[in-house]
Assembly symmetry: C2
Homo-oligomer: 453 residues x 2
Amino acid sequence: MINTLYLPELREMLATQDDAGLQEFCTALHPGRTAEFMEGLSAAEAWAVLLTTDLSTRVEIFGFLPEEVQTEIVEVSDPQEISELIAQMPPDDRVDLLNQVDPAVVEATLPLVPTEERRDILRLRAYPEGTAGAVMTTEVARLSESATAGEALQELGRQAQDLETIYYVYIVDDENHLRGLVSARQLVTHIGRPQTPIADLMERDLVTVEANDDQEAVARKVADYDFLAIPVVDDEQHLVGIITHDDIIDVLQEEATEDAHLAGAVEPLDLSYMATPVLRLTRLRAVWLAVLFAAALLTALALRSYHGTLERVAWLAWFVPLIISSGGNTGSQSATLVIRALTTKEITPDDWVKVMWRELAVGVLLGILLSAAGYIAACTMGLPWFDAFVLPITLMLVVICGTLVGSLLPLLFKRLGLDPALMSTPFVAGIIDIVGIVVLMQVAMLLVRDFAP
Amino acid sequence: MINTLYLPELREMLATQDDAGLQEFCTALHPGRTAEFMEGLSAAEAWAVLLTTDLSTRVEIFGFLPEEVQTEIVEVSDPQEISELIAQMPPDDRVDLLNQVDPAVVEATLPLVPTEERRDILRLRAYPEGTAGAVMTTEVARLSESATAGEALQELGRQAQDLETIYYVYIVDDENHLRGLVSARQLVTHIGRPQTPIADLMERDLVTVEANDDQEAVARKVADYDFLAIPVVDDEQHLVGIITHDDIIDVLQEEATEDAHLAGAVEPLDLSYMATPVLRLTRLRAVWLAVLFAAALLTALALRSYHGTLERVAWLAWFVPLIISSGGNTGSQSATLVIRALTTKEITPDDWVKVMWRELAVGVLLGILLSAAGYIAACTMGLPWFDAFVLPITLMLVVICGTLVGSLLPLLFKRLGLDPALMSTPFVAGIIDIVGIVVLMQVAMLLVRDFAP
């Protein structure tokens, strides 16, 4: 969505080099809104606008620009100016950004970044994407246990401008082992009693994560406990960073998008839908389509092998799509419910027996419903009343099979250490399709009277 | 997932009335963890454990218990004790809870709640579910513009225990009109200069929401701007409450679950999967299954009307599931991508032309791929080389149709003010099924040579 309200003015100011006007534009609004008004500018134009304002405002607005624009700016602008920007960016954000940028540009820019920041970048880049280490920030308020509440507040005041969050102060010993935390709330509550020792206020039973933990598990932990941030430690309990609430929201959204895409049988995109080139979009979709096509070929082979049956009882062919879609839809529903319950940690693979009974019960009830509808439809379409029983019997079996396959396969995938979301709706439907055809034909061969072989 | 580690000890302590031990259990850990260890206890047992500790700890742990357990505790415990709990709960959480509880119990409990809290509950309950008003809290730190930074910090210190968030202080005039905000970060930064007027520090360009705004739009705003909280105002700019980051995460998760369920053609559940009774689960699934079944009946009618064609060219029936699943899967992919892009506000219905061209391009490319595969499969299965062209032509048309229908229908739904997520994967597939059959038959009638009518 592009907000074009200010675009002509901005371009006019750029053309006339009205730096004062542009600077005013950069500082008048919340940086997030300023960034919104800049959408529609080219990367070069956006960067020219940002160069008119001071470095810290520039960093803030830049952080709200769309990922693609950020990447392009870094790739096309003066490396010296970019290195200053990068040195000031939040540690986690700049690593994300550099991971998107052309590696040749990164190599040209990094040597210009001050040593300390450069080391920090290299350290964070060592963590694989999708881990806690890759989303954490290293700018943390640290204090020793011997401080008082007053000293802690003073220290926080000195550091506040540079810290991503000031809401927790972490207490570490001389070797940077994490000992506890004090919340800004506690400190502010004791503002009248500045001599109170930190040791009396600090929370010692901490929920921590390890740098190699999966980012989704971390996000869910923070969401469950309503934390503003969670400390990240290494395997010797050294405090290496924190992950803050805004990154948690990003992770949760990213994972929700990924799960939604998988549920629709699309390989998750790295970029947004509009920013993904058509060829790449095609490739990400083709993978799954090809797999599903191969599965669907089995239905053609199955139907060919029942060639004789279909010739003798021609009306069977009419109901093939109805049967397989009923089974597929029921299976999709079960898979959807179970995958989401697994994602939100509401169930684990150990609950499979309980899940199976629930789904069996639901399957029988839904089966009764669809069977009744199917029998009426079959009779209405002119089948003999006895032959028409092929439909309800098949539907009953296929629907129950759908609920069981749809619910148990994701659990099995999870147990095997695979992503249960791979059991996408179309994939489950594909499996049930072939089951549906076989069941329909077998039931018909047993039941239909003019079936003299 | 139940953590049964402490259950025997807890039950033992309850049996021997070891209140000191239970109290120790309640205060030793983070309340979220304590609540986890209590899972598996009955509602009555959990409440008995909580009654051993002080009210504020009780409220905290209670807040982390699963929704179902909270509801049951309120329904089965002493109304006087419950009213004390409710009076201390965060305003937004207690309203959510009371909305789940048996109305008769609410009516018995509310008169026992102190007047001020009772009024607050009634006011918040007046906002419809799903609006900003229904998730906001009314406990906000307010100050007048004439205060200094030092006074603001002192005031925050006095109120900190009662506030849900202390990270923003809202500046209001005498009539409670919202004028601006100061962050705790700003106040802490100026801790050495307590005389600084608030007016110098305050942010005046605020992003606000109205109490009747949709909760999902609000959540997305907060996520976009990385806020910790957002102020809620009425139509005269009076500050009526705030929505905090933890509620935002809950809303985003709730909406992600809802969208996932809709994508799998399940009416969203109010409760968790395991907590939803089988009959209710069946009903929520039966609605969509019935709709999809009715759509699928059209395929049976279509195939019956092509009865003659099917008898003359029997092999057409073999390929029906293959054709319709290819179209359905392509359409599901498009719908998934477009729905998610709409949800994350990446596109709007106005982008329909751009989306259409993209999907057309992807459709042609995917069509070429599947057509090639389809032609090879048809020849391998023994069809004459010329007749076999029915397959690639049909696949090409059906796949393109899938991408267009799958992408444009959600956009149309959005434009009409409906939830685009209603265009679930199975629903799009259902529409393409019937298209697939008609296209296959028409192409066959045009192409196949032994089609003497």
